[in-house]
Amino acid sequence: MFKWLRKKDKKETAEVPEEKKLLGKFKERLSRTREKLKEGLGEVFVIERNVDEKFFEELEEALITADINIDTIKRLLTPLRIRVSQGELLKTSEFKEALKAEMLKILSLEPPAFPPEARPAAIFVVGVNGVGKTTSIAKLGYRLKKSGFSVLFIAADTFRAAAIEQLENWGKRMEIPVIKQKLGADPASVVFEGLKAATSRQIDVALIDTAGRLHTKYNLMEELKKMARVAGKAVEGAPHQNILVIDATTGQNAVSQVKWFKEALPIHTLIVTKMDGTAKGGIVLTLTHLFKIPISFIGLGEKLEDLEPFDPKAFVEAIIP
């Protein structure tokens, strides 16, 4: 949904030649669906009309298809319904602005300082499998380095095949050192060694890559707690920030993810990845509504530059253009 925000360096694909009619038609159809997707919630507001039950019904549908959960929809619409019953917001255009304002109220949470002040600052990046933890760490490292901080990566995903190599590969590209042990090593011991190295090398920020884990897995969540405890033994007050990574394509399960990760570790902030897809990412609203955890960054692609600070206004404008 955030395609327009993305700094694109890929060339736009050229016009389809006339003779490839079949293919052309197909593409046309595809782009038509894409147009529709992009509009998303905006569709409800395209034609100016009166706010009535039919409108509410359509709006609710649109909010649901954006992965916003029923409780959050109620939270958004209840105050607006009251205003409508009092004779306000009777036109859809007025209503639209009021809805955006309600969304902003939910989303306007101040994210914690990045990087945190401690030196070295130890940051845990956690989340379920495949959401984009390792890639986000690379992007954060890139960002920090550009603003002059010294960075260290700690490869504490010792479980997934080639997870260490993946992080090393990113490290090499940016000349960021990576502390690692071998596949199958105790992740807590990697954290300890990594943070000790960060201290002795006087590194500003240590980013800790953890293995993907489903929040329902008791032993893996215990392992995470242990890693955090051990971090505190290596560096006073560590971890200084725990970032939970959420995939924007996720549906209602994201609620459960936050709930259970929060149970294991204090979650200070979220990174929402894959916002460059067609998922509207409405789950963001639900998460901030239910848990009041601020969002620091959003992922908009697979490249190092594809990470932006979360801007609630831009988000709301994108969800309701």
Binding site: K3, K10, T13, F26, R29, L30, T33, R34, L37, E61, I64, T65, A66, D67, N69, I70, V128, N129, G130, V131, G132, F159, R160, A161, A162, A163, E165, Q166, E168, N169, W170, L183, G212, L214, H215, T216, K217, Y218, N219, D247, T249, T250, G251, Q252, N253, A254, V255, S256, K259, W260, K274, D276, G277, T278, A279, K280, I283, E302
Partner: protein
């Protein structure tokens, strides 16, 4: 967090029951609860709409209106229709025709393609086929390494992809090598891609044209939300899917994406990924997925299992005995035997919804049942019928005979006493049905 659909329907209908028979509008109210449950399970909005319309017709029939248990009837219909939509039976891989057989895995970033490729290789190897893994993701750092490592873990061959090769060339070369070396199945792992990324979608289309895969599988995350329909539709239009693998199913996602994807593509779900380890691949069972989407864990199959295992006649007898307060150790032994027939306790516990997160991954001591039965077996029938006669020397004999200790025997007797007390209380409170409800949450 989500209330069980069954509970919700019960309470919806309870309010109405005072008036006697249900009316069609009552059923509509019930259907609204069903709709909500499906949306909470991430089934796409439009898919839900179509589905409810289909169910409505049946639900307005006599089956529900005249039933004494309309909530259960409605759930039964919804459940059946869900199974129907999900596809009645499991569809296997298409392994017929000349070898090597190419299988192409596609999907969004991070959905589990590479892991699934290795799982499939292991699955096929077990069937005595010779699989060949082909890394065709040259973009993500260490993606090639990842599949090569997994191939080693499974003990199957892997194409030696070089990162500067073009994916289309990789798969052509890999097919040639597979032919030359006599591999049976070529499993191609592609890079994760967004369905709206035209360049990347063209690439996967080219790969498809180059190898003409027998199966094109969309690997999709069970936690996917409403967008599942757009993703599945785009991939299907571009490369013509033949099936779906739903991953990360062992978590607590309700998995409505399964229904959405099936509804928009018509493609069968062929496998489920149920863990990160390479043996965590299951053949798809529509009935289980249906219960899960309804937020009922696997209660339905649990109840079926229980019904199969429990001997109705014995259950009736037991009920009578309980009424007379004549529950003996003999009866306890019957119960334990029936429990054991239910299968692995652990697997049953996991089927029950609303079980605490922690309990889910806790090892459950099945040995305890075995030990209990052994103790009971070492008693004489008279001892089982009249436990009062169990003195110290008898207990020592029983412990020795069952390979346990006197403490174990005492523990069993204590549990038995507690059970009797519980039954007594229950008799006062309202009987066995309450017990069944407590046990099964129905």
């Amino acid at each position: 967090m989500f209330e069980n659909l069954s509970d919700r329907l019960e309470s919806t209908f309870k309010k109405l029951r005072g008036r006697g028979k249900l009316t069609p509008s009552d059923v509509e109210k019930g259907l609204r609860e069903v709709r909500l449950a499906l949306l909470e399970a991430d089934v796409n909005f439009r898919v839900v709409k179509d589905f409810i319309n289909r169910v409505k017709e049946r639900a307005l029939g006599a089956e529900v209106l005249e039933s004494l248990t309309p909530a259960q009837q409605l759930i039964k219909i919804v459940h059946e229709e869900l199974i129907h939509t999900l596809g009645e039976t499991a569809v296997p891989l298409n392994l017929s025709g000349p070898k090597p057989i190419p299988i192409l895995l596609v999907g969004l970033q991070g959905s589990g393609k590479t892991t699934t490729a290795a799982k499939l290789a292991r699955f096929l190897k077990k069937k005595n086929l010779k699989p060949f893994l082909v890394p065709a993701d040259v973009y993500r750092p260490a993606a090639i390494d990842q599949l090569k490592t997994l191939a080693r873990q499974v003990g199957v061959a892997c194409f030696d992809t070089q990162p500067d090769q073009k994916p289309v060339d990789i798969v052509k070369h890999a097919m040639a090598e597979a032919k030359a070396k006599g591999y049976d199945v070529v499993i191609i792992d592609t890079a994760g891609r967004l369905h709206i990324d035209e360049e990347m979608m063209n690439e996967v289309e080219e790969i498809k044209k180059a190898v003409e895969p027998r199966d094109v599988l969309l690997v999709a995350d069970a936690m996917t939300g409403q967008d599942a329909v757009n993703i599945a539709k785009s991939f299907h239009e571009k490369v013509g899917l033949t099936g779906v693998v739903l991953t990360k199913v062992e978590g607590d996602a309700r998995g409505g994406a399964a229904l959405s994807i099936r509804a928009v593509t018509g493609c069968p779900i062929k496998f489920l990924g149920v863990g990160e380890k390479l043996d965590a691949l299951e053949v798809f069972h529509p009935d289980r997925m249906a219960s899960r989407i309804l937020g009922m864990g696997d209660v339905l199959s649990l109840i079926e299992k229980a019904q199969e295992a429990f001997d109705i006649k014995k259950a009736k007898e037991l009920e009578k005995k309980l009424k007379r307060d004549a529950f003996t150790l003999e009866d306890l032994r019957d119960q334990i035997r029936q429990m054991k027939r239910l299968g692995s306790l652990e697997s049953i516990i996991k089927l029950i919804p609303g079980i605490g997160n922690k309990l889910k991954d806790m090892p459950f001591d099945e040995k305890e049942l075995v030990r209990m039965e052994a103790i009971l077996n070492s008693m004489t029938p008279q001892e089982r019928r009249y436990p009062k006669i169990l003195n110290a020397s008898r207990k020592r004999r029983i412990a020795k005979g069952s390979g346990t200790t006197v403490q174990d025997v005492n523990r069993l007797l204590k549990s038995y006493e507690e059970m009797r007390k519980l039954f007594k209380q229950m008799r006062k409170k309202g009987g066995l049905q309450a017990l069944a409800r407590n046990l099964f949450g129905m």
